[in-house]
């Protein structure tokens, strides 16, 4: 498997929270190459099943969300400039001079612009540019804009995947297409392994707007153990090294009330035995990931959290290490292999 190529494909595709249908087909086709069964539910969660050998198998569910943050058209002004709002958490400061694709009746390239700096009055000095003060320039007349796009059309960021030094990789939507890549790598590695339990590999929707896909699939799958794969903070200036981790040094293992102590310790022990690098990602309450929703599904589901450290989260230059994705996939496979559920 060409990992870089697959990550590039995943990152370049578009699927803003609530609008994942098109991307679900690509992910389902990837899952089908490795799974015994693949289903896509009403909300476009993609559910792959890889059966274990046991006649009375337990269920392990591994989820990674595949939706992405984006924008949505709210109005079109008399000159044809497009006003927008955000879907998911977006820092308005990163949007200036950004390239976007508006998904109207066709895909339209546009630029996010704002009032030039020399025309700002003094009251605006020292205040970050606001979402409502920006607009998208499609380089078209107002008539053409109105003929091609409507209020409620989604807007995604233009992806420019870039390989950096030391196996680092930068692109949009690595939160959490890197998790989806991890899922596919797990599936591929499970091929040669005789595992006892049934493994449900699930790419979920609508995480960025409130962990919604995970809530649905935890209920429908009813697993005995859940592994959530997401991203966590990569080392960034001004951020404490206790909560943001070096890239390329391994998996960040979530600990705290949101996560199951026994299984987390088991994963930690396995990593140490096998020489897989880990960081301890301490979460005093919510992990801000699907683990928060999954843990309290039905009568409760023991949940562990494996994260790939990621710099510049929720920007178009999210950056992570390919080495960490490999480590996360490996630790997940080892946990499945170990047959840890009693």
């Amino acid at each position: 498997m060409d990992i870089i190529k697959l990550l590039e494909q995943l990152s370049m595709q578009n699927g803003v929270s609530g609008f994942e249908k098109q991307l679900s087909e690509f992910i389902a086709s990837e899952f089908r190459q490795h799974c015994d069964e693949v289903q896509v539910d009403h909300f476009y969660n993609v559910i792959g099943l890889k059966r274990g050998y046991s006649t009375n198998p337990k269920k392990i569910m591994i989820t990674a969300h595949y939706d992405e943050i984006g924008l949505i058209v709210t109005s079109i002004d008399e000159q044809g400039f497009v006003k927008f709002s955000n879907i998911g958490g977006i820092d308005s400061k990163i949007l200036m001079a950004q390239e976007v694709i508006v998904h109207g009746s066709e895909e339209l390239f546009g630029i996010i612009g704002a009032k030039p700096p020399h025309l700002l009055d003094e009251s605006q000095a020292g205040i970050a540019v606001k979402l409502e003060d920006m607009c998208i320039d499609l380089g078209m007349s107002v008539e053409s804009v109105k003929a091609k796009i409507s209020i409620g059309d989604t807007i995604t960021f233009k992806a420019y995947p870039t390989e950096l030094k030391n196996s680092l990789y930068s692109s949009k939507s690595l939160d959490n297409r890197s998790g989806v890549l991890t899922l596919i790598m797990i599936l591929e590695q499970l091929k040669g392994i005789n595992h006892r339990d049934d493994v449900y590999i699930i790419a979920t929707v609508q995480e960025e707007v409130g962990l919604r896909g995970a809530e649905m699939v935890a209920y429908s799958t009813k697993p005995d153990l859940a592994i959530v794969i997401d991203v966590c903070y990569g080392d960034t200036p001004e951020v404490s090294e206790d909560e943001a981790f070096s890239l390329g040094k391994g998996v960040a293992l979530g600990v705290g009330p949101n996560l199951h102590k026994g299984y987390t310790n088991k994963a930690k022990q396995l990593a140490e035995e096998l020489g897989i690098g880990i960081h301890i990602d301490v979460n005093p309450a919510s992990t801000g990931t699907e683990a928060w929703a999954v843990q309290i599904s039905r009568t409760g589901i023991p949940t562990v959290l494996f994260s790939n450290p990621l710099r510049y989260m929720h920007t178009m230059v999210e950056t992570l290490s390919i080495k960490d994705i490999k480590a996360t996939a490996r630790l997940s496979v080892e946990l499945i292999k170990a047959g840890v559920i009693n």
């Binding site: 000159q79 400039f81 006003k83 958490g89 977006i90 820092d91 400061k93 990163i94 949007l95 200036m96 001079a97 950004q98 390239e99 339209l108 390239f109 546009g110 630029i111 612009g113 704002a114 009032k115 030039p116 700096p117 025309l119 020292g126 205040i127 970050a128 540019v129 003060d133 607009c135 320039d137 499609l138 380089g139 078209m140 007349s141 420019y160 870039t162 390989e163 950096l164 030094k165 030391n166 196996s167 680092l168 930068s170 903070y233 080392d235 960034t236 200036p237 001004e238 951020v239 909560e243 943001a244 390329g248 801000g288 710099r311 510049y312 989260m313 929720h314 920007t315 230059v317 950056t319």
Partner: protein, 361 residues
């Protein structure tokens, strides 16, 4: 195919070729003080059309096309440099930088850059919104709190790969979009360079000098010395200029309008333009049905300021191509304005040729 169809096809081919040259020009890194690669590209393409090419101590190109009777000299000027960044130091695994030329700091976050001669890819990231305190969320991030990430392991690797003083350009490929629009970096002023590269192909009665200047963005430096070398009778600056006809800006502040045609300047921060020369150009535009507009505000400035005050004073005009989001990796220009401006420069040269100078009457 009749001749009209044939001409239209030829014109289309020629225009595609001009856009392709503009694409290549904009995609070259050439921050002020680091114009070598642009200089090389320009020289290579114009060589066969010129009688002499001189490169001066700063790196300006002075391309000479001898006239039939050489009675006087016309100088065209466009600058090769673009705004960008320069590496000033290191912070752990990241690079610290300052801007070269005027850049709106608000546009730097979340961008891809190309570092140094070997074009090492880098990104300018930001602290995630999730980790920003409430007060941080509404405060702009200054350039001192931004860093370039090339994926280095440590400072040692950075020092080896990216010495202090390395130039950094935006990484932005040209895109054609919308209705005849182009997005690119460095349209200011590769668009002017593209027009000069076209003009040098023609032969006139007068001597034509095309100057491709350096360091305009850091204080009109290159043009300060080219004029002394050329000693022109008339000079025309061809520029990419601001275009603020965007949402949220009142009409009176629209410097120029996209698709409004070639922009002519009457005054800006560096120059009060020669009224007769401006009227001459307006007349040429009108009699040739070339779309033009007046640049409505008096902000900004360009090489004209230097040229006008060189020697005992030089008559100068500026013909500009409107560019939205100028000095950013995503400047936007209309192809229509580019071709109008090119046609106007050509028509002005023809008229100067026919009249044997600019008529003062």
């Amino acid at each position: 195919m009749d001749s009209i169809q044939y001409n239209a096809l030829e014109q289309h081919k020629e225009e595609r070729n001009a856009i392709e040259i503009l694409k290549q020009l904009t995609e070259i890194s050439g921050v002020s003080g680091d114009e070598d690669r642009v200089q090389e590209y320009v020289c290579q393409l114009i060589k066969e059309y010129t009688d002499n090419i001189e490169i001066d101590s700063m790196g300006n190109i002075i391309a000479f096309k001898k006239g039939i009777n050489s009675k006087f000299k016309v100088m065209l000027s466009a600058h090769m440099d673009e705004v960008g960044l320069i590496i000033t130091g290191y912070k752990d695994k990241l690079l610290k930088f300052k801007s070269v030329g005027g850049i709106d700091e608000r546009i730097l976050l979340n961008k891809r850059v190309s570092v140094g001669d070997s074009k090492i890819p880098g990104v300018i990231g930001a602290k995630p919104i999730h980790l920003q305190k409430k007060a941080e969320r509404t405060k702009p991030i200054g350039i001192d709190s931004m860093f370039i990430d090339i994926g280095a392991e440590d400072k040692k690797e950075l020092e080896r790969l990216v010495p202090r003083g390395t130039f950094v350009a935006f990484d932005s490929k040209m895109v054609e979009f919308g209705e005849g629009c182009i997005k690119a970096k460095a349209l200011d002023d590769r668009v002017g360079c593209a027009i000069l590269m076209d003009m040098i192909r023609y032969k006139f009665d007068f001597d034509l000098y095309c100057c491709f200047t350096v360091q305009e963005e850091v204080g009109l430096r290159g043009s300060a010395i080219t004029t002394y070398r050329v000693e022109p009778d008339i000079a025309i600056v061809v520029e990419g200029t601001t275009c603020s006809d965007v949402a949220g800006v009142e009409e009176q502040f629209h410097t120029t309008k996209l698709k409004g045609g070639a922009a002519l300047s009457f005054m800006d921060r560096t120059t009060v333009y020669d009224k007769e020369l401006l009227d001459f150009i307006k007349n040429v535009a009108e009699s040739n049905n070339i779309k033009y507009q007046l640049k409505k505000t008096v902000s900004g400035g360009n090489d004209s300021g230097r040229i006008q005050r060189s020697l005992e004073g030089v008559r100068v005009a500026t013909i500009s191509i409107p560019c939205r989001y100028i000095h950013s990796p995503v400047s936007v220009m209309s192809k229509e304005d580019f071709f109008s401006s090119r046609e106007l420069v050509r028509a002005v040269l023809n008229e100067i040729n026919n009249k044997g100078g600019v008529n003062y009457a």
